[in-house]
């Protein structure tokens, strides 16, 4: 398995690995750590891994790493390892929701859309948005407020169309 093939498989499986780890640990950041550790383990064993076994193996390793992290975080709490290992990751409709959200956000005016995407998708703070756009903080807040209002109207309109 080449580096590019490995990367492609890992990036494809990353959301599922993340959700699985989150379902065990309950914390997104710790789950991300568990996923990274699992990826390192997979990288070391990639010579003996077949592409078709990648999904099962990656999820198993992620579960084990998550249980290890959970034990470190809560050493006194008994953990039912068997049930956690058998647990399936929750179904994911995040892609559909994101597609719909993006569709609605793209209908907003340029400035409002930029402010919403910077704040939520890119994770920038208001100060960072100020620096990036050159707007004042009051102006950023006002822009965001107008964007929320527009989105509410857009969702209402979408629901009406669907019904």
């Amino acid at each position: 398995m080449t580096t590019e093939e490995f990367k492609r498989d890992i990036l494809r499986l990353q959301p599922r690995m993340q959700r699985t780890a989150e379902s065990i640990i309950g914390d997104a950041d710790s789950a991300a750590d568990a996923v990274q550790e699992a990826v390192i383990t997979l990288w070391e064993q990639r010579a003996s891994i077949k592409s078709r076994d990648m999904e099962k193996l990656s999820l198993t390793i992620v579960k084990r790493r998550s249980i290890d992290l959970l034990r470190k975080q809560h050493p006194t709490v008994p953990i039912d390892t068997e049930s956690l290992m058998l647990a399936e990751a929750p179904k994911d409709d995040s892609e559909e929701r994101y597609r719909l959200a993006r569709q609605l956000v793209d209908q907003l005016p340029q400035r409002q859309r930029d402010a919403i995407l910077m704040k939520y998708e890119e994770g920038l703070s208001v100060e960072e948005i100020e620096k990036a756009t050159g707007m004042s903080s009051t102006h950023v807040y006002a822009t965001l407020s107008r964007a929320y209002k527009s989105l509410r109207e857009a969702i209402k309109q979408y629901k009406d169309e669907q019904s």
């Binding site: 990826v39 390192i40 929701r97 994101y98 609605l104 939520y120 994770g123 989105l151």
Partner: protein, 278 residues
């Protein structure tokens, strides 16, 4: 927001109801607190503007953004792991191959040169001639030395020597001087030495195989333990030889620790003797 600011403006402007009195310090503090609450209230209003649908929509955007960042981190991690693997592998290859090839090449070149030069060195007749000339010269010089020494040897009877020198060589001496005897044999086999025939002088008698020249005159290799002992008892006196009356035979009354007769004149292994001179 508009309502708040309007109220703030109302507070700030001088209304006909409010008398035009100078603003006290407490009034200023109240005004600042009111502005602060007003700002906070506007933010709360903007948050409240979002209903649940909008919140979910923004959450999905946020989640997607986080996932994209995590994927980017994983991609960087994989790239870093690949780079580390490459940097670890490449020096190993160089370490294995480069020095080996250099050493092997140099060794092969040296071997070839040696093989090419060696036969040509052997075949050169000039060098062989030079070596032969040097050998004959050295042998001749040794032969003449031996000749001279033999001519100067004193007259001593073998029987007397055998009786008077019952010396047993020590183990350490034999061990050390064994190879010397071998060297002597080799030299005797040389043709140049064979030519050296000790010419018997009328006045002197050759003592045969026990006759060994002095250490200072002959090479040190041509010595054996027995011969050395004999040399130590080498009582050479040309005056005595010429006139035997002058020579006094040593008295052998005293005995050594080993019960052998000892000359009283013997001191420190060397035999001192008196010569009756005129």
């Amino acid at each position: 927001m508009d309502y708040g600011t309007a109220r703030l403006r109302d507070c700030e402007t001088d209304s006909p109801r409010s008398p035009a009195v100078p603003k006290s310090r407490s009034q200023n503090i109240l005004r600042l607190n009111f502005e602060h609450l007003l700002k906070r209230g506007t933010r709360m209003n903007t948050e409240n503007e979002m209903n649940e649908d909008v919140r979910q929509l923004l959450d999905s955007l946020e989640e997607h953004g986080k996932n994209v960042r995590r994927q980017q981190e994983l991609s960087d991690l994989i790239d870093r792991l690949a780079e580390e693997e490459k940097t670890v592998e490449t020096p190993r290859k160089h370490r294995k191959l480069t020095p080996l090839w250099w050493v092997m090449g140099a060794a092969a070149a040296c071997l070839l040169l040696w093989l090419l030069i060696k036969p040509s060195m052997k075949e050169t007749p000039e060098t062989n001639k030079e070596i032969l000339v040097e050998e004959t010269e050295t042998l001749d010089s040794v032969g003449t030395e031996v000749k001279e020494v033999i001519l100067e040897e004193p007259v001593i009877k073998e029987e007397l020597l055998a009786e008077e020198t019952p010396v047993v060589p020590q183990k350490s001496q034999t061990k050390k001087e064994k190879p010397r005897a071998e060297v002597v044999e080799e030299i005797v086999e040389q043709p140049a030495l064979a030519e050296v025939t000790p010419t018997k002088n009328e006045e002197t008698t050759n003592i045969g195989s026990n006759n060994i020249p002095n250490e200072s005159e002959t090479p040190s290799t041509v010595q054996s333990p027995k011969r050395r002992v004999i040399r130590s008892l080498n009582l050479v006196c040309y005056e005595c030889q010429k006139d035997p009356e002058l020579y006094t035979k040593p008295v052998m009354e005293d005995k050594t620790l080993f019960g052998q007769p000892q000359d009283p004149n013997m001191k420190n292994g060397a035999l001192a003797f008196e010569i009756k001179l005129n």
